[in-house]
Symmetry: none
Subunit: 203 residues, 4 copies
DNA sequence: TATGAATGAGTATTCATTCAT
DNA sequence: CATGAATGAATACTCATTCAT
């Protein structure tokens, strides 16, 4: 879990760090950021409060690190679509992207909740962190859509609105999927999204 | 006599209540729930802290009331679609619903932010409040979709997933629209959504 | 006591402020700055911890205010020596200055201890505050000495060293006088200092 | 054999002790006692925190030891004045004492600051330590003055006050001299003090 | 109705000190 | 001798809430 971002402080120290990160992730996602005290996190690892501060500057720091790490994994799961590759049609590549995303979310339901439901509006700095990520993501998607529109793979229309629509829809689906509200497999989710993108909702 | 006096007080009292509600709405949307103190709200109305508690039980109460009132207005703006009315085809009715929603949001950007970005994950009780609303909304939409699928107006497929997708997309659009990120008029936004629902994104 | 520097917050509030200032002065002088907690100060006034923060931003603020107020009173007790006034010879004026100083100190033994023994080396900001005061004081004395040297009222020699010697001696005397170590009256103390300035120590 | 090993350890251990003492002296004089953590001291010697506690019981202990050592050296630099020695007139002996003191201070500016500016008001125990030293010093000076007064070498007057005045003045001069505020050589400083003691300040 | 002084529970954070390795 | 991870007591500070006026 939690990738292998932090390597400092030797192997022992890193283990404790990761324990704390996982405990924080679970506390935050169960009770929210504000309702979680540093002591809650420390207690969950059976460690004294002071120990927490050996590894993280403060409460925000551990949240920011959780967030940064997960946003990084999300970014890593998205691959640029190669329109020229004859062996992999664009729709296949898009589908693969969606599938990786859904599977990543499935494996980290707590982080999905933190990232999509709790993080927005927590702190100015955290919001910055998120805005930066989303701005980059939207830019990336915008360029892909523009390319697609040129090649008539994507319908004409306001791309920013399309992005909002798709991004929002996808976020909601990931959240609901992780919560178990949607009783579908990853593949079924992706297929349904693809169908929607292909034909819309109205017959 | 007493009655009259009481009513008079009631009316003035109501004015104060509304001032406080508006002040709270603006404080919350500007700085977030936790970064807003009861004193901030009271000061914005040029009233003492104690006065706040004459009108609201506590801080959560005023947020809950703001939320309930706005969710009520959202619910009120959505009209059931009458499939039998020959003078108003279903798509027209759906379009009208969306337009009312977008215009409602346009008029209350602060409440849109509070409802969609800040409220989730604030408190257990607030989450309950939201879940209840969304559950009812989803149920309502689900029934409409079911009806529409029966009559071949809506494509087959997992309705819950469709709802998540559309709801999430719509929420994101409302948020971005209120933030001014989307440089479109209400009608243009609605048209684009309708186009998406009609044909999807991929050409 | 404690002058009338703060007038804000109405009469009631000012009373509480002054109570807190006096409590802080006594706590600090009895146990030192670091060994005094905000709670100690509040308890001494039979008031809750939070009340302290209604009147002072933090612990340093109340110390800084005590110090500033007392340094102000010291400055106010020192009068420029008018060499031209035939009715009041310079020595008389110097004597009067010293007497005012000793009497001021006698009335505020706690503040003497805080200012002379505890304040130096507490905080960077506090040190600044003191340095500024002493720099101004030394400058003032230096000008007086220079004038005196011109008129042959003061012996030639390095003025900065003289100032250090006299200032240090005076501080020590004030401290010891307030502690009761010196079993003398204010007038006797002043007379002895004057004798020393006149003739030195060695016969 | 064991003895030799123990001594060897003792010698190395002593080296570490001294390194720690010097590091502590510099940390304390740079940032003050409270702003210096045990870790700061240990880090300065490139040693782990735990190592500190192999040599000193706690933080106060190392400060107390620094202080005791320096007070000891001060005491050692002061020689009893032999009034009977015809080859060395009393003023010469006094002058020599002052010169030794100023030169000692010049060589240890950090300790001068610690002893004169920081130590007073730090801890009850430390204050005791200082009071004991000063009491002994004052007693010693008092006896010398008494002797001097008997022989008409010292002016009549309250000896305790004289001591306060001279001690305070001397302390201030040593501090300012170490800070470089006084732009004089050790000899010049001593000469000025002697002139002051001889004739006072007023012409 | 309105006030605002007072409350005190709640938390983040620091750091001297210990101890297993 | 040396380490440094772990400890947890100690404290400053915030802020929702109350209540006497």
């Amino acid at each position: 879990m939690l990738g292998c971002a932090a390597v400092a402080r030797g192997i022992r120290g890193n283990k404790r760090r990761i324990e704390l990160l996982e405990a924080a992730r679970d506390c935050f996602s169960e009770h929210g950021y504000h309702a979680t005290s540093v002591d809650d996190i420390a207690k969950r690892v059976h460690v004294a409060r002071g120990t927490f501060y050996l590894y993280f500057a403060d409460k925000r720091a551990i949240f920011a690190e959780l967030l940064a790490e997960f946003l990084g994994r999300i970014a890593g799961s998205i691959q640029s679509i190669d329109l020229a590759d004859p062996s992999r049609p664009p729709r296949e590549q898009l589908r693969a992207n969606l599938l990786r995303l859904v599977e990543l979310a499935e494996g980290e339901p707590a982080m999905v909740k933190l990232t999509l439901a709790d993080a927005p509006g927590l702190t100015y700095e955290l919001d910055e962190q998120l805005q930066t990520f989303y701005a980059a993501l939207r830019l990336f998607i915008d360029e892909s859509l523009q390319e697609g529109q040129k090649m008539n793979l994507i319908r004409k229309g306001d791309r920013q609105l399309y992005i909002s629509l798709v991004l929002g829809g996808l976020q909601r689906i990931l959240l609901d999927h992780c919560r178990g509200t949607l009783a579908l497999s990853a593949v079924e989710v992706v297929d349904a999204i693809m169908a929607f993108l292909n034909e819309g909702l109205l017959a």
